[in-house]
Symmetry: C2
Subunit: 86 residues, 2 copies
């Protein structure tokens, strides 16, 4: 018998969807660190408003550089920054 590839079943589609949902959310930032935690001493904030990234796509992480806009457009996601106000 020749091996035949089976058409994807509902079960395998479901497993695939589950695996996709269980993926990481940070593709690149500080992957040498086991857990990326940042500290802000709020008394040292200089600007009236400072935006901190929560999308893990910023080129200036932990600060937000607006990259969440591209991420949301590409994926249909709805994430945005945390705004620290003095």
């Amino acid at each position: 018998l020749t091996a035949r590839r089976r058409a994807p079943s509902a079960a395998s589609a479901s497993r695939r969807a589950t695996r996709v949902r269980a993926q990481g959310i940070n593709p690149e930032i500080r992957k040498e660190e086991g857990k990326v935690v940042d500290n802000v001493v709020v008394s040292e904030l200089s600007k009236p408003v400072t935006a901190y990234c929560r999308c893990w796509r910023s080129g200036t992480f932990p600060l937000c550089d607006g990259s969440h806009v591209k991420h949301n457009k590409a994926t249909g996601d709805n994430v945005g920054p945390l705004l620290l106000k003095k």
Copy 2:
């Protein structure tokens, strides 16, 4: 001719991988909002340290409830909170 499902090509595998990487990172939080932005007036922080979520898995979002630990373990990711210190 009967339609035949083609075996996955390297190109389709590549497209699939690309699509997976371009997925959203927030599965559930405030999906009725186009962009989830939160404000913190830092002068109103009450505790010496307050942890804010960046993993989009917290049950107390925008605060961190420790859910990043389960997310990191399940996915191999390395995300963690932003700590605001008075």
